[in-house]
Amino acid sequence: MNANDPILEFRDVTIATALRGHAGLDQVNARFRPGTLTIIQVEPGNEQLPLADLAEGLLCPEEGHVSFQGEAWTAMLPEQVLQRRAQIGRVFDGHGWISNLNVNENVTLSQRHHTRRLNAEILAEAETLARAFGLSELPKIRPALVAHQDLRRSEWIRAFLGRPLLVLLERPMQGVPLEHLPRLISVVREACVQKAAVLWLTDNDRVERHSELPPATRYAMRGQTMVKMENG
């Protein structure tokens, strides 16, 4: 795989079934290259898209295919699938926590599971990201006991921890005051510099038009179709 080859590619992806409230997609084509930010504006009433699940191979499209690092998810062995997913960071649209683990354990779970990095090293990186996102420290209690905006920002930490190749941000500003947006943008910018592909789904115009956002490819959802915007 060349350095500029897409990390993630949707080719003619169609998924019609409305799975658990997800909207469908029709003939979606998009490439997400290293070091790029892609912003997808979602429509009111159709906020929950299966894009992130498809991007991680958690859902199979009914037509077309989704490739990660040049290989279709459906063509990979189960162990390869798990290894590749370990290289993806994600902020979930909805519940994104394991209830019986503390937030710090949740945040560092993937790194502790997939890598041989020392716990102290992983925690130090997480604490650095916590400070970058305006948290005094990583919460060390159960997710149910943490204030919503702190929990959301902890999810940002998890998404960027361990320098993932692909970052999927599903409406990451949900429940977070806009004053924290520049902090997220700053880390997104840094991730792009480090050659990650960032896919940002938003339903908020103020997020999409923020002056500090790095150059981005922009799409908008129109029903089940993803339309590339002219300024993108």
Partner: protein, 262 residues
């Protein structure tokens, strides 16, 4: 559908469930032997499960063993003494406590305390999308959730059964002295019990603790993960897990007894 057809359909469903259970347990055992399936996160789940299922159950198991010791060991001492068969005390105690009562009661306790907890925990994880959260991070639910829990169950049941037996014998002996029945010398009592112990009892103990422990875990994991989208399915899954675990326990216990001693 005819009456016979209904019975057939019911039987087929049961057989399919049993085949699924054996497949899950086979996968768990096969995958557990691979060292790379034991990263630190999985080891942590194993340690936590041993703590919850084994260590935290010690107090309750001790209480039940203590009371069982009083009723069973003291009665055995009294009646065997009256019948002039005190020499058989060891054999009778081993047959009653070690072979049957201890494994059964400990398995019951583990099913009640931890089996239901696992079924409810995993069912809630499924309903709230937490299994997806794990998979999205590249964690295999079988490797991360099932393997450590199943092995921790088996190990805990085995250790708790040994503990149960020791406590039951000690309490029985102590109350025997208190009521003025049986041997007063602990060495004589211990020798009588040890004389009743045969190599087959060791295999019996292993089979009646490790196997039901694994089956209980497998059943509770399967039932927990069988829940789909609704929170109302959670208590149903827990009930099914308990009923099926107890059924499996009695079937395994009977089969092991027959194979070991007949």
């Amino acid at each position: 559908m005819t009456f016979i057809g209904t019975i057939g359909q019911h039987t087929t469903t049961r057989m399919r469930t049993a085949a699924h259970l054996f497949a899950v347990l086979g996968s768990i055992l096969a995958q557990a032997t691979r060292l790379r399936n034991w990263p630190r996160t999985t080891r942590a789940v194993f340690a936590r499960q041993v703590l919850f299922t084994g260590v935290e159950a010690l107090r309750f198991v001790s209480l039940v063993a203590f009371l069982t010791g009083i009723s069973v060991v003291v009665q055995a001492q009294v009646w065997l003494g009256k019948a002039g068969q005190s020499a058989m005390l060891g054999s009778v105690l081993i047959a009653v406590i070690l072979r049957e009562v201890a494994p059964l009661l400990v398995n019951f306790i583990v099913i009640g305390r931890s089996g239901t907890a696992i079924a409810v925990e995993l069912a809630n994880m499924k309903v709230f999308g937490e299994i997806k959260v794990l998979e999205a991070q590249g964690l295999d639910a079988l490797l991360y959730l099932a393997i450590p829990r199943a092995l921790a169950f088996a190990l805990s049941v085995f250790c708790l059964t040994i503990w149960f037996t020791i406590v039951a014998f000690i309490s029985g002996y102590a109350f025997g002295i208190l009521f003025g029945v049986g041997a007063t010398d602990p060495v004589i009592f211990m020798n009588t019990v040890l004389k009743g112990l045969h190599p087959a009892d060791v295999y019996n103990l292993l089979a009646k603790t490790l196997v039901p422990g694994l089956f209980t875990a497998g059943i509770c994991i399967m039932e927990g993960l069988s829940v789909r989208h609704s929170i109302t399915e959670v208590p149903q899954a827990a009930t099914r897990a308990v009923v099926r675990s107890i059924t499996a326990l009695f079937i395994i216990s009977a089969i092991v007894s027959v194979l070991t001693y007949i």
